[in-house]
Amino acid sequence: MFDSEFMRLAFAAGAVIGVLAPAVGFFLVQRRLSLIGDGIGHVAFAGVAAGYLLGVSPVATALAAAVIGGIALEWLRANRKTAGDQALAFIFYTGIAGGVVLVSAAGAFDVNLFTYLFGSILTLTRQDVAVVAVLGAVGLATIGLLYRPLAGVVLDEEAAVVVGVPVKVLNLTIVVLAALTVAVSMRIVGILLIAALMVLPVMAAERVAWSMRSTISLAMAFGLASVFGGLTVAYYGDMPPGGAIVLLAAAGFLLASGVRTVSLR
């Protein structure tokens, strides 16, 4: 499998994504915003479409659209302009509708678009992997540096506000990190499935962890195992990797739930 350069590149990028997505997702899940990655993913789809239309890198336009969509979502939610689920619905549907219109205008309903939606192991270039590595390192370094304040805010947001923690800035940081994760991961996992990699490993880790730190660490381990396992299955089964990765992550959750049930008996 590793004789092929495209598989070596897929595993290199996958290693970053497998760790980054659950690390960011940990904070989304704890804030009960598990579906936010989906909303941002749909806005990223509009960004990919805009890239096709403008003739520039779809990854760059997807990143820009995802960041703008994520900030809009957080602003709507935090300022109570609308309920959280309605804000998500607004961004979700606007993103996908905008994407369809832009893709149609660009005449890009083709196989290449399909790879952005569901991921592919064949299309990665060395340059793509370098971009994934740099953006992933930025994302992970940010989480490492801000872990305590981010964890403090999810533990008790109101108490954090009272003692002067910059809660709005930290909440915005998480949304921007989620946007970054979507843009970084969409070539391998796909826009429509990346949110699952942010959420399922965290859900699995919560079932068997014993502390917050062990939850985030186990989630990253589960994420990495799902990506590596999914890429392997995709290679030998000749299928889009996104589906295989997410199905393995879902199986991980079921397994962890089973382990928890047995250990509680």
Binding site: F26, V29, Q30, R31, L145, L146, R148, P149, A151, G152, V154, L155, D156, E157, E158, A159, A160, V161, V162, V163, G164, V165, V202, A205, E206, A209, W210, S211, M212, R213, S214, T215, I216
Partner: protein, 239 residues
């Protein structure tokens, strides 16, 4: 004695409703242990939120250590135990992780905790008698032990003013007594100003110098010995 908290002619109403608080005057000197009680819906939590600068009054002024509460510049000097304090996450959280979050604003915000912060976290857990539970997930502890962990979190920040909103909700009578005793001890040893807010005075009545009864406005403010018998259960207060 300088004032830790002062409300001057404060009126506050939520949108489209009657004022929750009308014309409230309250001055709490630094170092005092005060119990604020009143029936549910009487405006206690509104008063707490105004005091902490989470709400701004429609009329009047709220001052924290002499500064407008909403723009208070020394927020790490506050300790706050919200009503029905519970962790807002599904992931397991150990006692030590929760108490460490109390050093967030008072200590360095970026990177790991420094040695002095870790010492203060340990000392807060020891003071509350939960040091041996440090590595236990909160969900495996009793209501009283969980409450102690939340108080340790608030104390780890070395607050000058500790505000506790309904700290005994869901806690058995024995733990309520222990909590009242503990607060008295903390107040005497650390000289922290403590605002204890509850729908009933309960065990704390024996330890405070001053009781404040709130029902839309302040209907009693004085020493426990002056409290009319009929008001010992604030939920039955009629104005």
């Amino acid at each position: 004695m300088p004032l830790a908290l002062e409300l001057k002619g404060v009126t506050f109403g939520y949108a489209h409703g009657q004022p929750a608080l009308s014309n409230v005057d309250l001055a709490i000197p630094a170092g005092e242990l005060v119990a604020i009680a009143g029936p549910n819906g009487g405006g206690k939590t509104t008063l707490v939120r105004l005091a902490l600068g989470l709400l701004e009054p429609n009329r009047g002024d709220v001052l924290l250590f002499g500064e407008p509460a909403a723009r208070f510049s020394r927020r790490p000097a506050l300790g706050y135990l919200p009503q029905r304090a519970q962790i807002g996450v599904d992931a397991p959280v150990t006692v030590e992780e929760l108490v460490s979050a109390g050093r967030l604003a008072a200590g360095p915000m970026l990177g790991p905790l420094r040695r002095r912060d870790r010492e203060l976290v340990s000392s807060a857990m020891e003071r509350l008698g939960i040091a041996e539970l440090a590595r236990r997930p909160l969900s495996t502890l009793s209501g009283g032990q969980q409450q102690r962990a939340f108080i340790a979190k608030a104390l780890a920040g070395e607050p000058s003013l500790l505000v506790m909103d309904e700290p005994t909700t869901g806690v058995d009578a024995e733990s309520q007594e222990a909590l009242a005793e503990l607060l008295d001890e903390l107040h005497r040893e650390l000289q922290v100003t403590v605002l204890y807010v509850s729908h009933e005075f309960g065990a704390i009545e024996r330890y405070v110098d001053r009781l404040v009864l709130v029902r839309g406005s302040i209907v009693f403010d004085g020493p426990p010995s002056d409290l009319p018998e009929v008001w010992h259960d604030p939920s039955h207060v009629h104005v």
